[in-house]
Symmetry: C2
Subunit: 186 residues, 2 copies
């Protein structure tokens, strides 16, 4: 006989986690509007009604998924002298995990989801970044960071043009690295 790990057929915590995990995948892939509750629950292998029971609705589920995605990593742990290279590497290469910024983007079209994305963006990205930059121009630096980041993701994911769809052109990557580094250095 094998070492039987306790895996009961019915486990609220487990299914709740499964829904949350599936939600991150589907929201990131299809965006808030086009990601249906039925899509998410089908991926999780459960009934659509459980979204309302465990999370209180699609909107709350989105908030939880976005919150969870934001917990995976922070950018204020990067070395300041290598900020440019490392942030671009993170943005461009780590496409395996669920990245929060593209998720926030997709929410922008929905007024309710946008409000949630705004709040989380401010509390969990903008403000920490501002404190990390420091100095009198910290707010402008944080704003510059947001603009370049959002511009990158908008260009790559939301409205990809034929030339650079999917990959990141080397010269464009170099420019991005200089751009992000300049925010820290100036």
């Amino acid at each position: 006989m094998e070492t039987t790990i306790e895996t009961p057929a019915r486990d609220a915590d487990r299914t709740r986690a499964a829904i949350l995990h599936a939600a991150q995948q589907v929201f990131a892939a299809k965006g808030f509007a086009e990601a249906g509750v039925r899509d998410i629950t089908a991926l999780a292998g459960v009934n659509p009604s459980l979204v309302s029971r465990y999370f209180g609705g699609k909107l709350k589920l989105f908030e939880a998924a976005l919150d969870a995605a934001l917990n995976t990593r922070l950018m204020t742990d990067l070395p300041k002298d290598q900020f440019g290279k490392m942030i671009v590497a993170r943005f461009a290469d780590e496409d395996d995990r669920v990245s929060p910024l593209p998720m926030m983007f997709s929410a922008a079209a929905d007024s309710e989801a946008r409000a949630i994305a705004q709040r989380l963006l401010r509390e969990r990205v903008f403000e920490p970044l501002k404190d990390w930059f420091g100095g009198g121009d910290a707010d402008v630096k944080a704003a510059r960071f947001m603009m370049v980041s959002l511009g990158f993701f908008a260009y790559r994911d939301q409205l990809p043009l034929a030339e650079f769809a999917g990959r990141v052109e080397p010269r464009l990557r170099q420019w991005l690295e200089r751009e992000f580094q300049a925010i820290v250095d100036e």
Copy 2:
């Protein structure tokens, strides 16, 4: 008596134009998804069914509205030595007219509307800009322009943070001007 201009109660061209005009307003204000056909036709003062009759559906109407918005002005007519200042002025100050880029943004969440926005963005903005920049790095320059522009609108309109909502902070504006000018100069 007054100079009676011919204003027949029923004029197909006139109502068609009224729908198109209203569509530009509503699409720009609420985005593709949240702008309902009933919203648009109510503003135009006509029946919702006329959208399908005159344009072939909401999606085609969106395409026509975006196309019309793109016809209002081009950016390749700006003097190259003043490109930075003037493009920022156009983006930041001319909020009275319907600007196409924010409209394109809102379409990104809908897969069908996104395809239209992508094509128009490439044909009417990206390619002309590439030719205008010229040189071996023209494609990279055009991409940089797109990233900064989309980043600006994303930050200002789609996910506005409390600090700079609505207005454009002077130091941020200065940075944007330098950024756009650098694309032309480098």
